[in-house]
Amino acid sequence: MTDQRSQAELVRQSLKRRYRKERRFRAYGITAIAIALAALVILFADIIGKGSTGFLKTTLTLNVQLDGQMMYLDDATDERQLKMADFVEPLIQALIREIPSVTESDRSAVRGLINPYASVTLRDALKANPEWLNTTRTMTFLAHSNVDVYVKHAGNEAYSIKLSEQQRSWVDQLQEKGVIETSFNDVFFQNGDSRDPSKAGILGAVVGSLLTMFVTLILSFPIGVAAAIYLEEFAPHNKLTDFIEVNINNLAAVPSIIFGLLGLAVFINLFGMPRSVPVVGGLVLTLMTLPTIIISSRAAIKSVPPSIREAAEGIGASKMQVVLHHVLPLAMPGMLTGSIIGMAQALGETAPLLLIGMVAFIVDVPDGFFDSATVLPVQVFLWSGSPELAFIERASAAIMVLLAFLMSMNALAIWMRKRLERRW
């Protein structure tokens, strides 16, 4: 009896110790998750804090007198005249009328408030509506990027305001009168890159990314899945296949910039493909994504229960039928998930694309797979290295767009897995 009691006592003591251990372990887990979450929150707060203003543009709404004499223009349909005409003067005059204290001698300071591209906007409007000549129109133009920075970040130490005291007081007055306003930055989504931050947009980079991803997807998914099926189902198990398997795993661990070097040496130098085009970017990213897709597809194939295979073989299905009718449908959710994760990785990849020239300054939105292009992460890289502070908020905004793409891809992966699994 005494023995039993002391044993129960021992168990109770060890129980206490066990529970303490368990509590400690749980605390470690919660701490780890809390740290990860905090890092995520800080990251998001920083990016959103910096980038949210990137989604705003500053505009000037002016009553422009389209005086033909002032503009040296008497026929708005004449291309030659349009090229020679002065479209800045009406803008300056319109602005001068809005600011009471201004005199003719402040012309250049007033001009500093207007975006250099505003005259182009005016010319295009006149070209489209020649009958507007010699009338007065209310039109909206982009403000100068210095005004943009001042309006959004006045009082922020990090931003240096490049406006004189006089200009600042004008901007304040104009804001009060409602001439200067901020609104949603549609320009950011409609333009390619630009030297002027207020005109710079991500459309070129987004289209470049989509084209590159398309090439990557149509190459890496079929090749990766076919390789995985062959290795898993048909290949004999010998030294050669072992060697191939080890090397696929090695490839998955190769730094991505090496793939960029390979792409430069093989696709551009050896095959003579053009630089900075989505096709080459897609090929390089395919090389980088393939090991990920092969490994995850093989894991998905391996996870198909052997009983299903046996059942099919037992009825007399051939090898090919077993694979196509049973293994592949069951492995598909896993394969798709792996591929989408691989694609998401490729979408965020910068380093290999720098080497094949996708880092060039490209203003136009690419029209095809063989047109010069850049991609979103490279655009972020370019803008964040820019000395102009107005580009920093554009970079953060572009990061937000990139993150939105990545999140929707991951959500797609989860949704596809759930949907396809429910069928079985």
């Binding site: 009983s307 299903i308 046996e310 059942a311 073989e313 037992g314 009825i315 007399g316 299905a317 009718h325």
Partner: protein, 295 residues
């Protein structure tokens, strides 16, 4: 490896080739003579003629020189302790062992006097003739209809939808599942109970009208009621099919089979009419096993 056995008798016994580990209640000198089977292993009207069959897993000899006939339209049960090679032997009959790399089969195995292991033989055709039901119910994760229709589809047995419907209905009827399944042919098969799934697997196997059905412990994952249904089914099927069944339940062997074969450590020890095996076994190992002294 054998330390557990020593605790009873206090002796260390190492099993050797051709020697049976000594166990309590049985004379230690029982030795199986290789290739010698007592009873009636051969039949006049043989569906399978199996002579001097040996199976190797790498270096290990899993089946040791077994000769046996399986008669047309008989139900033969394979019994024996775990690891005695009965499943391995069964799987030789439709070459299911082919997918195991290290497995080699020697000897002469003939189905209707054609060599099963002829390199030129088409495995797909063989398996269409020799169907198989597995230990665990393994329906495809598809609808009930598609499960049964799969075999006829891949073998091109039905060209029209109506023919296929008929095959599916007949197979399900034969498997005694028609009444339970007819209203939910489109429902997924994995939603059925274990017993229903196993009967579905049997329906799937007979849908391609095989000549032989191999069953590898078909009831080991089922409850007694489901087991009884499957056993009834086996009795009905035996009228038109040759059935080879591996089982761990001696009662089941006694209930469903015409002949029973007792396997021991890769040897075929005894084959005889089922009631003879269970009432008056000729070999002492068989007797020890069926009286529950080991196994």
């Amino acid at each position: 490896m054998n330390t557990l056995n020593t605790t009873v008798t206090g002796e260390v016994q190492m099993p050797e080739e051709n020697a049976v580990p000594v166990q309590e209640g049985r004379p230690a000198e029982t030795v199986i003579e290789e290739g010698k089977t007592v009873g009636r292993p051969f039949a006049d009207d043989a569906k399978f003629k199996l002579r001097n069959v040996e199976v190797f897993y790498g270096q290990e000899r899993a089946i040791k020189n077994i000769s046996l006939d399986v008669a047309r339209n008989e139900v033969i049960a394979f019994i024996g302790p775990s690891g005695c090679g009965k499943s391995t032997f069964l799987r030789c009959l439709n070459r299911m062992n082919d997918s195991i790399d290290i497995c080699r089969v020697k000897g002469s195995l003939r189905l209707d006097d054609q060599d099963i292991y002829d390199p030129k033989r088409d495995v797909v055709e063989l398996r269409a003739r020799v169907g198989m039901v597995f230990q665990k119910p393994n329906p495809f994760p598809k609808s009930i209809y598609d499960n049964v229709a799969y075999g006829p589809r891949i073998h091109g047995l039905a060209n029209r939808k109506a023919d296929l419907d008929e095959i599916v209905e007949n197979s399900l009827r034969k498997a005694g599942l028609w009444n339970e399944a007819k209203d939910r042919l489109d429902a997924t098969a994995t939603g059925m109970s274990g017993g229903q799934q196993q009967r579905l697997c049997i329906a799937r196997a007979i849908a391609v009208s095989p000549e032989v059905v191999l069953m590898d412990e078909p009831c080991s994952a089922l409850d007694p009621i489901a087991t009884a249904k499957v056993e009834e089914l086996i009795a009905e099927l035996s009228e038109s099919y040759t059935i080879v069944i591996v089982t761990h339940s001696m009662q089941q062997a006694a209930r469903v089979s015409h002949r029973t074969a007792y396997f021991h450590l890769g040897h075929l020890v005894e084959v005889n009419e089922t009631n003879k095996v269970f009432t008056s076994p000729e070999h002492e190992l068989t007797e020890s096993y069926i009286t529950g002294r080991f196994g």
